[in-house]
């Protein structure tokens, strides 16, 4: 099965991600599939190697899910990478993939986490439609 993204999908996904950035104060946000491919991205990507960011966060989150099963948990819904200036939050989006948010001191992890949870819910039906149509 190939995933086909139409102009209308692109607009919907970008609108949700833009909303996320505005509400949360994140610098950038991207929706990434389990396979490490970027479906949509918004925000300030200057100086960021987006493809590597996607591949590594997908890999990192996949490891986290494997870790969950090791300790007897069904899944971890979020992962936080804390830096001195820059942080990354990764949230699970249904069975499909992840929402990646890169943020700095302009906001807080609590705000990001809260907004990411709502954003994941907004993304789920759009992705479900996209997958159903691609089959």
């Amino acid at each position: 099965m190939n995933l086909v993204i139409l102009e209308s999908d692109k607009i919907k996904l970008e609108s949700v991600l833009t909303g996320f950035i505005e509400e949360s104060g994140a610098r950038l946000a991207m929706l990434v599939g389990k396979n490490g491919m970027i479906l949509s991205r918004r925000g300030d990507f200057a100086g960021v190697d987006v493809q590597s960011l996607a591949a590594l966060t997908a890999g990192s989150f996949a490891s986290t899910q494997a870790l969950a099963s090791v300790v007897g948990e069904k899944e971890f819904t979020g992962v936080f990478h804390q830096g001195k200036r820059i942080n990354i939050y990764i949230a699970l989006v249904a069975d499909f993939g992840i929402l990646v948010a890169v943020f700095d001191v302009a906001t807080t992890i609590a705000m990001i986490r809260l907004t990411a949870r709502e954003t994941s819910k907004r993304l789920e039906p759009i992705i479900a439609d996209l997958i159903a149509r691609s089959k």
């Binding site: 995933l3 692109k10 396979n35 490490g36 890999g59 490891s63």
Partner: protein
């Protein structure tokens, strides 16, 4: 699962280099990375241990105009070959659109090749994918070594599925065969995507 963005005129595919430990998967990607001249080429990502063994994966993104009117993005990954890293191998294999199986030609490694090939089939099946359903090719690497097994023997060991697949002899440290393999697998993957679209 390839991703086709009609909106951005982009096709993104994932190709995984699979094979036993030390068969030369990372060396293939390093050679490609060194030789590809592209303004868009970014750094290769490697998660390796101190001994230069791949711990999680290597990742190299490439862009071409192989499909008229579309930008084709190929994401090349390697898996860690060592037996004990099967959990991470499975994760990297998720959603692969094509596989290059890199076999070590040395006599002493033939059992490892067969075990790794069996492991590839098992890991795909766990994802609900049959090996015969995705494009894959065989690369017989390290052909320059004195104790390399004959290609016919490696064909007998590894190329015995229902349908035979293309196989290539290579010396990845010198770049021999590396681009032939890359060209072939990318063409196979693109052909399959175009066929799927026409259905």
């Amino acid at each position: 699962m390839a991703q086709i963005s009609v909106a951005d005129k982009e096709v993104t595919v994932k190709i995984v280099y699979y094979g036993p430990g030390m068969s030369g998967k990372t060396t293939n990607l390093l050679y490609i990375h060194q030789r590809i001249m592209s303004k868009n080429l970014t750094d290769m990502v490697s998660i390796a241990t101190e001994g230069d063994r791949t711990l999680y994966f290597d990742f190299l993104p490439l862009e071409t105009d192989i499909i008229p009117g579309f930008k084709a993005k190929f994401q090349l990954y390697t898996v860690p070959g060592q037996v004990q890293y099967n959990a991470t191998r499975k994760l990297v294999l998720q959603g692969a659109d094509g596989v290059v199986f890199v076999a070590d030609s040395q006599w002493s490694r033939q059992k490892d090749n067969v075990d790794s090939f069996t492991n590839l089939k098992e890991n795909l099946l766990e994802e609900g994918v049959k090996l015969s359903d995705i494009p894959y090719i065989l690369e017989y690497n390290k052909r320059d070594l004195a104790d390399a097994a004959r290609p016919e023997y490696m064909e007998y060991l590894l190329n015995r599925e229902e349908f035979k697949v293309p196989s290539f002899e290579a010396v990845a440290t010198e770049g021999k065969g590396v681009f032939e393999v890359l060209n072939y697998i990318t063409r196979m993957v693109v052909a399959k995507i175009l066929k799927d679209i026409k259905k």
